[in-house]
């Protein structure tokens, strides 16, 4: 057995400083940062969609359909960081078979499955009419692709072909119900992720009852921001292709631009609200820790104010929170300024996850030493790929690929 197979997980990317216990390494690396980030996007996208379906925010109709389908694309992606991280990924399903409910991670199986079923069901009700219309259209066609699509839509329709007013109304009511139930489930999906960290009494940085709430707030922020950003990107492309087809001065270009602006303005307001909530809770946590100055405060202070100062105060708080907040509130909001603010917010939420997960492992349990995380960039083994930059990028890119595929079956963007 060569040393190839004998890898001390974490040793490769951990540099220890001063006194650290022998078995301490950065075990929860970038994939554990990606996981709450991805589930946060899922929860946020769903909440945005529900704002239309449940609270009748009519201006959000276009974005609602899109964010619902996008949240479906994000779902399998949320599983990926876990599969990349587990030392025994094939045994991952044990969490469904023998869930030990005293563990927050055990909730994953139930919550994730419930949420997946709600999202898929809601999409079914939203698109059932479309499925049946497609079936009728494709019935006559004979080419290979059409036949395939025909059978696919037959399967997806689950045999429910009634398009009477009564049936369609039932669909609408079901969507409303599912969207309403889905909101607390989406909150739970991400709240439990916060609980995973907040309940670890051994970790001085993580242990806090505020953690689940902080995670939910920032999750909704990231979800709304991502949906808005993707919406803007698609609308800009639509505008661009219309300009190519019909010329810059054409009426339809103006129409697209004004509709886009209305939707974006509306969504921004919700975004700002959740942003304020998220940052308030984080500052509260910090102030509390400094004030009560428990045994861990010395090392935490050194980590937060010295080692991680730039990551926390410059990148996360300043660039990721304050700057976009100001940008969104300044008068005469433009699409470009909004897009920039949204990108900063997405970056800020990622840094929040990073500062919690990696920050919590930046100091030793001894409170007398530090650990520095050197994320693998160029992989030379399966492990350094999975737990390195490329692994994180794979996870980040997958929802877009999946969305493109899913969009071919349940189109959520009108390209007309």
């Amino acid at each position: 057995m060569g040393t190839e197979e004998m890898v001390v997980h974490g040793a490769e990317w951990t540099v220890k400083q001063l006194f650290v216990y022998p078995n301490e390494f950065i075990y929860w690396s970038v994939q554990i940062v990606m996981y709450p980030y991805m589930t946060g996007l899922v929860a946020g996208a769903f909440v945005l969609s529900s704002l239309y379906h449940v609270f009748d925010q009519k201006d959000l109709k276009d974005m609602a359909r899109f964010s619902l389908v996008f949240s479906l694309a994000l779902l399998p992606t949320a599983m990926m960081p876990l599969m990349f991280h587990l030392q025994q990924p094939l045994r991952g399903f044990n969490v469904l078979f023998t869930p030990h409910f005293t563990s927050a991670i055990a909730a994953f199986g139930i919550v994730f499955s419930t949420y997946a079923m709600i999202v898929v069901s809601e999409i079914w009700f939203v698109y059932r009419q479309f499925f049946v219309e497609q079936i009728n259209e494709l019935r006559a066609k004979n080419d290979g692709l059409s036949r395939l699509k025909f059978y696919l839509y037959q399967l997806f329709s689950l045999g429910a072909h009634d398009l009477s007013d009564e049936a369609v109304n039932k669909d609408k009511r079901a969507v409303r119900l599912l969207a309403a139930i889905g909101i607390p489930v989406a909150c739970f999906l991400h709240g439990y992720a916060g609980f995973i960290f907040g309940s670890v009494k051994a970790n001085a940085l993580w242990m806090s009852p505020l953690m689940p709430v902080i995670f939910i707030m920032s999750a909704v922020v990231s979800g709304i921001a991502l949906c808005m950003l993707t919406y803007i990107a698609i609308m800009e492309w639509k505008k661009f292709s219309t300009v190519l087809a019909r010329g810059r001065g054409d009426e339809s270009v103006q129409l697209i631009r004004s509709v886009e602006m209305e939707v974006v303005k509306k969504a921004s307001r919700y975004l700002i609200g959740f942003l304020v909530a998220a940052i308030s809770l984080e500052l509260l946590d910090l102030i509390f820790r400094g004030y009560t100055a428990m045994k861990s405060w010395d090392i935490l202070r050194t980590v937060m104010y010295e080692e991680d100062f730039v990551k926390i105060f410059i990148l996360q708080y300043l660039c990721g929170n304050l700057l976009p907040f100001v940008l969104l509130l300044l008068p005469r909001l433009t699409i470009r300024r909004t897009a920039f603010a949204l990108a900063l917010i997405l970056f800020g939420v990622f840094m929040m996850r990073w500062n919690v997960v990696i920050g919590g492992q930046a100091f030793s349990l001894s409170f007398a030493g530090f650990m520095h995380y050197h994320i693998p960039v160029i992989p030379h083994s399966l492990e350094t790929y999975k737990e390195g930059v490329l692994g994180a990028l794979t996870v980040a890119g997958t929802p877009f690929v999946l969305f493109w595929l899913i969009n071919k079956i349940v189109p959520s963007i009108r390209y007309n």
């Binding site: 004998m6 006194f19 301490e24 991280h85 991670i105 051994a202």
Partner: protein, 256 residues
């Protein structure tokens, strides 16, 4: 309120308080309850570390690695020894080179020279899994791969562990790690395979100075149990509520 109604109310209140109090007494005195609290086990393993005897030879760490097939040349270990040197300026210099696997030979700590005359006190602290009564690591396992046996030892089911690492993050003492070959969670088991056969753990047998001892808290004649009950002993990090069962003689406030 009429007199009779007030009387009735008084009687009811006093009566119910009286009933609950006496029922409580019964609860405490019920042999079944008491037995259930203690359990029908005749054994509860505990460990005693005497830091006044440890010389930092590291023979315990070497024996543990070889007995439990933890790869020798990698930096993870089921047990380790820490060195503390407290100098006159009040600073603690602490190190654990390879967990003390090769002993402590170098006077330098963390690359720093320490003058002999500056040393106020110095001692060695062996550490291992505390086999807690309320193990936080078991509570957080999502699949039931780690558990507590009836005689108090926490074990890991190598065939069921998914390698999520939650137990490693939850342990306040840093005793857990991923086994480099089996790729599941790993930690000290008090040499369960040895103690179940009446042998001593490898580290206890290896220690030439008697700094490590295993005992049974349920046996009143057990020498370790007697020391724990009659002498002054300490435990590590009891603020986490885990109720660790490794007791230390000579535990210093500088110990992390």
């Amino acid at each position: 309120m009429s007199q009779t109604r007030r009387d009735l109310l008084k009687k009811v209140i006093i009566g119910s308080i009286g009933a609950t109090v006496s029922l409580d007494l019964f609860r405490f005195l019920s042999p079944a309850q008491l037995q259930a609290a203690i359990g029908d086990q005749a054994v509860r393993w505990v460990f005693l570390v005497d830091t006044t005897k440890c010389v930092g030879c590291g023979l315990c760490v070497k024996a543990c690695k070889k007995e439990n097939e933890v790869p020798y040349d990698v930096p993870v270990t089921r047990t380790w020894v820490e060195r503390y040197v407290v100098t006159k300026d009040g600073r603690s210099h602490i190190d654990t080179p390879n967990g003390g696997r090769d002993g402590f030979v170098d006077k330098k700590i963390q690359g720093e020279e320490i003058r002999d005359q500056d040393i106020n006190k110095a001692f060695f602290v062996p550490k291992l899994c505390n086999q807690c009564e309320n193990p936080a690591c078991v509570q957080v396992c999502p699949v039931g791969a780690t558990y507590q046996t009836k005689d108090g030892v926490t074990l890991v089911d190598r065939k069921w562990c998914i390698g999520c690492g939650y137990c490693i993050m939850a342990c306040p003492y840093g005793v857990r790690f991923f086994h480099p070959i089996h790729k599941v969670a790993e930690k000290c088991t008090f040499c369960y395979h040895r103690i179940s056969k009446g042998l001593k753990p490898a580290c206890v047998q290896a220690c030439p100075f008697g700094a490590r001892q295993l005992g049974n808290l349920k046996n009143p004649d057990d020498p370790v149990a007697q020391i724990i009950k009659t002498q002054r002993v300490g435990v590590l990090k009891d603020e986490y509520g885990t109720k660790p069962q490794v007791f230390y003689i000579g535990l210093d406030t500088n110990v992390r």
